[in-house]
């Protein structure tokens, strides 16, 4: 069972929902839970869950490496590459590993056997625990642009027979799609403001393109206007969580603490969320 927490825009409270839901599921619903943080550019869940890292694994991408002695300068490799990651200029081959998607095409295309695969590290995946919650997060190397392979590596830790919560990166393009693809349910977190609405409508389009079942959670629900609720009503999208604007939550958040640990009266909200999730997702 994979539940993705996503949002068109960042900073709407995705991490708050993901971490507190994990906490609720483990402590109160006694479910087996894993939190997979796929926001590999800015992974934050572990800060709130105070996870203990047990293992760090490098994630590598295979990129071409040239044996200049074998190269005949024919240029076949640069012909096949769609990403300008390998160039053949006046018979001399240059590679640009940061642009390489690791498709392996150039290596197959080289008639001289001059290219082989070399490993390039794009980031790490850290696995650990926070109490009984399994935590996994990816950390993209700074300056690195290729996040989807790292997201796939984090997601590969999702296991059957437990609830895997997938905290997605913001946006509607490749990284978030890698994160939500194949999930059983997506909870889109938003705010009741024009920014929130604009980004929510983009996120809704995205989950519809992917054909995934989804619902909306509204964070800081007492600020702003009614337009997000109106939109959800018109689009027949269920709203299954509302968290009011609360300075105490902001203050807990700023200190890296979970809402449910410090403000137990919010337990009810997460219980309700859990019951609704159980209804929409047949376990």
């Amino acid at each position: 069972m994979n539940i993705a927490i996503a949002s068109g825009k960042g900073g709407t409270g995705k991490t708050t929902v993901a971490t507190n839901l994990a906490f609720y599921l483990q402590h109160h619903a006694k479910e087996d839970v894993a939190l997979l943080d796929c926001d590999v550019e800015e992974p934050n869940c572990h800060l709130f869950l105070k996870s203990v890292c047990l293992e760090t694994k490098k994630v590598i991408l295979p990129v071409p490496s040239l044996d200049p002695d074998k190269c005949t300068g024919c240029g076949k490799c640069s012909e096949i590459c769609q990403f300008a990651a390998i160039a053949c200029i006046k018979g001399k081959v240059l590679t640009f590993p940061e642009l390489c998607h690791g498709c392996g095409g150039c290596i197959l295309a080289c008639p001289a056997g001059a290219l082989s695969e070399q490993e390039r590290e794009i980031g790490t995946v850290e696995t650990g625990t926070s109490g009984k919650i399994k935590t996994v997060y990816g950390q993209l190397r700074v300056g690195e642009a290729m996040s989807p392979p790292l997201i796939r590596a984090v997601k590969s830790h999702a296991q059957n027979g437990q609830i895997n919560i997938i905290d997605s990166p913001p946006g509607t393009s490749c990284p978030v799609i890698q994160a939500v693809k194949g999930c059983d349910f997506v909870l889109l977190v938003t705010e009741p403001t024009p920014f929130g609405l604009n980004d929510l409508s983009l996120a809704v389009e995205m989950v519809r393109v992917l054909g995934l079942p989804f619902a909306v959670g509204i964070n800081r629900s007492t600020i702003g206007d009614e337009k997000v609720r109106e939109y959800c009503r018109n689009e027949k999208i269920p709203i299954i969580l509302e968290i009011p604007e609360d300075r105490e939550i902001a203050s807990m958040y700023s200190r890296g603490r979970l809402v449910l640990e410090s403000l137990p009266h919010y337990m009810e909200k997460f219980e309700k969320l859990y019951l609704q999730l159980k209804e929409v997702i047949p376990c």
Binding site: E41, G143, S251
Partner: protein, 289 residues
């Protein structure tokens, strides 16, 4: 020389767009660019009137012509992105457009087709010209689109003899951010005094250093946690990234957003507006240097 200030933040939702909108109303003679192409929001505050719309084509997707396909399985074997199913259908979303399948298909049954990925707009706003874009849902290559938005914005600035480009950047540290900041004159990093805010700020400043771009910092909602704000300021001093603004938490910012205007227009005397005016002065003098 044309200056380019890029406003970024490690984490989304730190108030980047509201700050860009405020700068837009404070600074003269600028071109604005929204490079948060995944979830562009600046248009909600600046209400641009679109003058020009251009198509953005990028990347390719493979498609199999079933009539020619001999079902030999070669493409299945070679595709590293699991984009081809056992019955030879291509999953457009998984396909990276590398073309390996097309190149090696013995029957020549696979074509690579160009993707229309979105649009770029050139607009007029009450605060000057603006270039923005919309990436279609589930399309890749936001980095490339970001580069094109910046190129257009710079061209517009030259054509209209404007002295600077103010860019609303995307969140994160990945491909679109790299495309937004490479070669810029200064980055303004917006952060919040939270544990995750510091964590993300450090990563973004490291990124700016990696590309050798001078960085300044603005702490939004600094009074949510004055202690963390102070340690952010300390840390920034150590690495020579000056904190040039501390905006207090102010409900007027959200109310302005709901009205679709910048907080300076909504309530110029509000606490956030007063601080933003100071920030505007610092940025102005940096851009005029």
């Amino acid at each position: 020389m044309l200056k380019e200030l890029v406003v970024i933040s490690g984490k989304g939702g730190t108030g980047k767009t509201s700050i860009v909108a405020a700068l837009a109303s404070l600074l003269n003679n600028k071109v604005l660019a929204d490079c948060d192409v995944d979830a562009a929001d600046l248009h909600l505050v600046l209400q641009p009137q679109i003058l020009e719309k251009k198509e953005f084509w990028s990347g390719k997707t493979a498609s199999i012509n079933r009539e020619n396909c001999a079902e030999c399985g070669k493409c299945l074997e070679l595709c590293r992105f699991a984009a081809i199913s056992n019955d030879y259908a291509i999953d457009n979303i998984a396909c990276e457009g590398c073309g390996v399948c097309a190149y090696f298909c013995p029957a020549g049954a696979i074509d690579l087709k160009d993707n229309l990925c979105g649009h770029i707009f050139v607009s007029r706003t009450p605060h000057g010209p603006m270039v923005h874009a919309r990436l279609d849902i589930a399309e890749e290559n936001s980095g490339k689109l970001v580069s094109q938005v910046r190129t257009q914005a710079r061209a517009l600035a030259y054509a209209e003899k404007r002295s600077a480009v103010i860019v609303d950047g995307p969140p994160g540290t990945g491909c679109p951010v790299i495309a937004s900041i490479s070669g810029a004159s200064t980055v303004l990093v917006v952060t919040e005094p939270t544990v995750s805010g510091i964590h993300d700020l450090e990563r973004v400043l490291e990124l700016a250093r990696h590309f050798r771009i001078p960085a300044i910092v603005c702490i939004n909602k600094w009074d949510i946690n004055p202690g963390i704000s102070a340690s952010i300021t300390n840390k920034c001093e150590q690495i020579e990234a000056r904190v040039v603004g501390q905006i207090p938490y102010d409900g007027a910012v959200t109310r302005a957003q709901v009205q679709g205007i910048s907080v300076l227009e909504y309530d110029p005397g509000s606490p956030a507006s007063l601080e933003l005016q100071k920030l505007g002065k610092v940025v102005e003098s940096l851009l005029n240097q």
